[in-house]
Each structure stands twice: as structure tokens, then as C-alpha cells.
């Protein structure tokens, strides 16, 4: 279902709305946020130079580091008293990035999430179990408010205690699951351990998975685990931009519709910063419109994707972005080859006899890099021939896709670590060696 008429505006109408909001946003940021003023002055551009969408690319880019440098509230455009909520992203290195919301921002956020949830198959009749970690992370509360706006019944079960999660699902009749794809798969495993068959004993009909990449292969795993009939859609967002709600997949499974009346997307070459034409892969840059507390202009998301403005069969006219092919900072350089962990995941999931869990290990061996992929056997065997065939298949596919020779390590089931939040599947020991 299409939640808002702003998802079906004619391009001209939408651009007029974006232009008006962009001009106001830039003017406000310049006036109220010192670091923006400094950046724009340094670039020799003033708010009055911004007259149309074409002028957007003249504005300076900002990065996560700018948020860190101005920790905690330096980029905020409102006094602290006007904030109604603060979230932060976990900072594995250094300070976390802090984001804030005014009451009006919360309204926009709920509206945007309601749209992507509706596009992804949610309805007011759903009992929605939110298995994202509540807390400073925006994922759980973002989906919470958006689904509540739609009129769904929220079960804020958070992460952890998977047996209890399954008990709630069964006893409450949960119809909609919000989780990372890997946790959704883990929950199906746990249900199996409890003697339940998810497709028969549980009522989950929609999975809104996010906060982790949903590959086609992972989607297939979801169907194997939860039943052919389950609707699996994914969505995109990040706390800096607002949280979930930036874009979401519709039932056509053909990219994620961006809420363009609130977010203007651009694709840039991550090296040069130059804006790339429609359809080319590059780093996603987003300008947030109408955001009061934290007006981000040309924010570098670090996600590698591409845009399409072609009309979608679902009826929405908004621009679609592809599932990110990786993060510009997750990208591994192995023997000079650019490798995204998602490429390896796709391969592992496509090999029969293996489970969906894996670990990528990169080490330095002499002057060269060594790539090892650890995988779990999904079915028992008495035959070395079968074990060797699995290894050979993974190695062969890695060579074809990446052009790299890798070692494949078979492990017993349940050997690799399971994650309830974002999975950490890469161990790059080269960094440790350097220390």
C-alpha cells in the first residue's frame, strides 16, 4: 500500500518541493550551525547561490568525521531544550556520533518509516515483533514509531533470549518480524531447536529486515527457513540521516524507494567527490530536508550503490537505490583486488551443503595477502569426496567472482559466532600485524 501522496508526485512537482526545502535548509544551516558556515565560506559559496537542485553539487560534502569532530552537539541547529530525543551510534573507535530530534523531526521520522513499512508489506492488522536492540541504536525505535503510526500492534521484544522471542511469536501470533537478516535466520534455527516448524507453527507473514545487507541469497535462505510464502523486504537508513526510513523496498523487489521529499540522493565517485550520472555505482550522498535538529547537507554515507529514476511497477514515482554493494570503508583490498564481504556472502549462501554463517579472515603471509573463508557444514557426510566438492565449489566461485585464490575451511555446525545485532564477519589480521 502507498502511504503518502508524496510518494507518487510527478517529477516536476517533486523537484519544486525539493528546491524550496533545499533553499530553506541551506539558509538555516548557514545561519545556525557554525561548522557549516565555515565550510561554505571556505568554499566561497553563500546560501543565496543555491537557487535550484543543480546548485546542490556546489555545496561542500560532510562526513561522519565532522560529526565526531563536533561531538556531541556541535552540528545541531537548535538549542538542547528543543530536543525531544537523542540517539547515538556505537563508536567502535573514538567517540560515538550523536544525533538529535525535535518534536517535528520525530513526526517526519515516523512518517518516513510508516511509508517504508507500508511499502514493505506492513498493515494496521499486523502484530509486529521488533527484534532490534532497543537503546541508543535508532533501528528499533524508528521501526517502533513508524509501525505504530500505521496502526500495527507492537511487541518491543528487542534482541536476546531467543527462546522467549519464539514463545512470544507463537503465543501472541506475531505476523511481522523486524530483525537483521542474520538474527531472523537465527530465530528460525532456535524455533527448530524448540521443536517448532516456523512455516507451520508460527504466523509470521512479513519480515522487514534491515541494518545489515539483505543479499538475494540471504533472501532465499529466509524463505527456506521461514517458508516460501513469507514476504521479505529490506529498507535503508542510518542514524546520522535520521535512522531507518530513508528508503525501503516495495513488493516489486526492485530497489529501495527513497523518500525524496525528505532526502535528496546523489552518487559520487568516492575518490574524487565528483557527482556521477544516473545508474553508475558510487558512494551515496544524502541531503536531509526539513530536519530541524541536525540538518545534514551532502552527507557521505559511505555506502556504495546506484540510483534509478525509472518508474516502478508499484506506482511510486520516487527514485530507487540498489541494495548497497558494500561500504566504502568495509571494502577490503586483498592482493590489490577490491573485495566486498557481501560478494563472499553471496557465494557461501549459494553452495548447497553449507549453512548461512561464515567468517572472512585476511592475513599477511610473507609479502602477500592470504584470504581464508570459514564456513559451516549444514549436512553430515561420510564422504571425503563430498567435503572436497564443497571446498572446490566455494574456491572456484571465489576465483571467478573475485579473481582471488582463497583457502576454504570447513567447520562443524554452530562453530562460528552468532550475532544478534550487526554481524562481524571479517577478521582483518593485517591491521593487527601493523601495530
Amino acid at each position: 500500500m502507498i502511504w503518502s501522496k508524496n510518494e507518487t508526485l510527478e517529477r516536476k512537482e517533486l523537484e519544486a518541493l525539493q528546491t524550496e526545502r533545499l533553499i530553506a535548509t541551506v539558509e538555516r544551516a548557514y545561519r545556525l550551525v557554525a561548522p557549516y558556515r565555515e565550510k561554505m565560506d571556505k568554499a566561497g559559496i553563500s546560501p543565496s547561490d543555491i537557487k535550484s537542485l543543480a546548485d546542490l553539487s556546489r555545496l561542500p560534502l560532510i562526513k561522519k568525521q565532522d560529526l565526531r569532530d563536533n561531538y556531541p552537539f556541535g552540528l545541531f541547529a537548535v538549542p538542547k531544550e528543543r530536543l525531544v530525543r537523542i540517539h547515538a551510534s556505537s563508536g567502535t573507535t573514538g567517540k560515538p556520533t550523536v544525533v538529535g530530534y525535535t518534536a517535528a523531526d520525530m513526526e517526519i521520522w515516523s512518517e518516513c518509516v510508516a511509508r517504508i513499512a507500508a511499502a514493505g508489506g506492513a498493515s494496521s492488522d499486523d502484530i509486529a515483533q521488533i527484534c532490534f536492540g532497543y537503546g541508543m541504536f535508532t533501528g528499533a525505535l524508528g521501526l517502533h514509531y513508524g509501525l505504530e503510526k500505521i496502526g500495527a500492534t507492537i511487541v518491543p521484544s528487542s534482541t536476546g533470549n531467543s527462546e522467549k522471542q519464539i514463545m512470544y511469536m507463537k503465543d501472541f501470533g506475531t505476523t511481522l518480524l523486524v530483525a537483521t537478516p542474520s538474527y531472523a535466520l537465527r530465530l528460525a534455527e532456535v524455533a527448530g531447536d524448540m521443536g517448532l516448524v516456523p512455516r507451520e507453527d508460527l504466523s509470521v507473514r512479513v519480515a522487514l529486515v534491515g541494518s545489515e545487507l539483505l543479499t538475494d541469497a540471504m533472501r532465499e535462505e529466509m524463505h527456506k527457513a521461514w517458508g516460501e510464502d513469507i514476504l521479505v523486504t529490506t529498507n535503508y537508513g542510518m542514524s546520522e540521516l535520521m535512522g531507518p526510513g530513508v528508503s525501503g523496498e516495495c513488493l516489486s523487489h526492485n530497489g529501495m524507494h527513497i523518500n525524496e521529499d525528505f532526502f535528496i540522493p546523489e552518487i559520487i565517485d568516492p575518490k574524487t567527490g565528483e557527482v556521477l550520472p544516473e545508474g553508475e555505482w558510487g558512494e551515496l550522498v544524502v541531503t536531509c530536508l526539513n530536519k530541524e535538529a541536525l540538518p545534514l547537507i551532502r552527507y557521505r554515507t559511505g555506502d556504495i550503490t546506484r540510483l534509478s529514476y525509472e518508474k516502478c511497477s508499484c506506482g511510486r514515482t520516487t527514485c530507487r537505490m540498489d541494495n548497497p554493494a558494500g561500504r566504502s570503508d568495509d571494502m577490503l583490498k586483498i592482493r590489490g583486488v577490491n573485495v566486498f564481504p557481501s560478494q563472499i556472502e553471496e557465494i557461501v549462501l549459494g553452495v548447497s551443503g553449507l549453512g548461512p554463517h561464515y567468517e572472512i579472515i585476511v592475513e599477511r603471509e610473507g609479502y602477500s595477502d592470504k584470504l581464508t573463508v570459514r564456513v559451516e557444514l549444514a549436512r553430515a557426510t561420510d564422504s571425503f569426496r563430498e567435503l572436497e566438492a564443497i571446498e572446490r565449489e566455494v574456491r572456484g566461485k571465489l576465483r571467478i567472482t573475485l579473481g582471488l585464490d582463497a583457502a576454504v575451511k570447513l567447520e562443524s555446525p554452530n562453530t562460528l559466532q552468532r550475532f544478534e545485532g550487526k554481524a562481524k564477519r571479517v577478521r582483518d589480521m593485517r591491521k593487527e600485524d601493523k601495530k
Binding site: L377, R379, A380, T381, D382, S383, F384, L387, K409, L410, E411, S412, P413, N414, T415
Partner: protein, 142 residues
């Protein structure tokens, strides 16, 4: 007659074999014979035990990739060349032997565990030559 062997995948990591044996001990499973074939990275452990189904189940529960495999246990008389004769007959029928290992020796014969690609064909050959094979029931009595 065939018997059920328990096959277990184990990584070549210190203590992994010990873990399997510990699970079996804790569950009172008696091991009659054991064979471990390995590569540099992993091995396949093959066990003849008194309770194969239960052994497989407790190992699965403990997180080991384990399954039952049908194998033949032949009783080979203590005569030089006896085993070679049997194998020659099996080879004549184009049956491949995938692996073999010893089970036990008695006063009259030695029992050997054998896995072939065509179990029925192999059994036919053995029956025609009146070569004894062991049943699950006989195993339980060992």
C-alpha cells in the same frame, strides 16, 4: 547384512577427537571400533558402537556433524590370501571399496568393516561365497 556405522566430521584442532569421545562416554555409548581418516584441515571419524542411533543423536545435539552410514562387516578366516580372494570377487562385479578398517580378531577369524558403493551387490557376492557378515544384533553382543 549391513550394520550402522556412525560418521563424524571433525576439524583438525587439538582436543576435537577428545570432545567426541567425551560425549559418547557421558552418554554410556560403548565403542567397538574406531577409524580416523584425515586431511590437513579436517577428518572423518568412523565408529562402530553398541548403540549407533543414540550415538548419532547425542553427537548431533552436542553440535557435531554426524550421521549413520551402512557398512558391511565381514568375517575373514585366518588363512593367508583370504581377504584378497574376497576383494577380487567383489572387484569382478565392479563394486568399489571406499574404505576398510579392522574391528576385532577371534580364534577363527578377523572381522573387518568395509564400505562399498554398491552394498547390495557386494552382499550378494559374499553370500554366494558363504562369507559371514555381522548384523546389528550380533554387534550388540560383542
Amino acid at each position: 547384512m549391513t550394520v550402522n556405522q556412525v560418521s563424524v566430521f571433525i576439524e583438525n584442532r587439538q582436543g576435537r577427537l577428545g570432545e567426541v569421545l567425551h560425549v559418547l562416554k557421558e552418554n554410556g555409548v560403548n565403542i567397538l571400533s574406531i577409524s580416523l581418516a584425515d586431511t590437513t584441515e579436517y577428518g572423518l571419524l568412523r565408529l562402530i558402537v553398541n548403540e549407533p542411533e543414540r550415538a548419532r543423536d547425542v553427537l548431533l545435539e552436542a553440535g557435531f556433524s554426524s550421521m549413520l552410514t551402512e557398512v558391511i562387516i565381514i568375517k575373514v578366516p585366518h588363512t593367508p590370501g583370504a581377504l584378497q580372494n574376497i576383494l577380487a570377487l567383489i572387484a569382478e562385479k565392479n563394486v568399489n571399496i571406499e574404505y576398510m578398517y579392522g574391528l576385532s580378531a577371534s580364534a577363527n577369524d578377523a572381522s573387518i568393516v568395509m564400505k562399498t558403493n554398491e552394498l547390495d551387490l557386494a552382499l550378494e557376492v559374499l553370500r554366494a561365497q558363504s562369507i559371514g557378515t555381522m548384523s546389528n544384533e550380533e554387534l550388540m553382543e560383542l
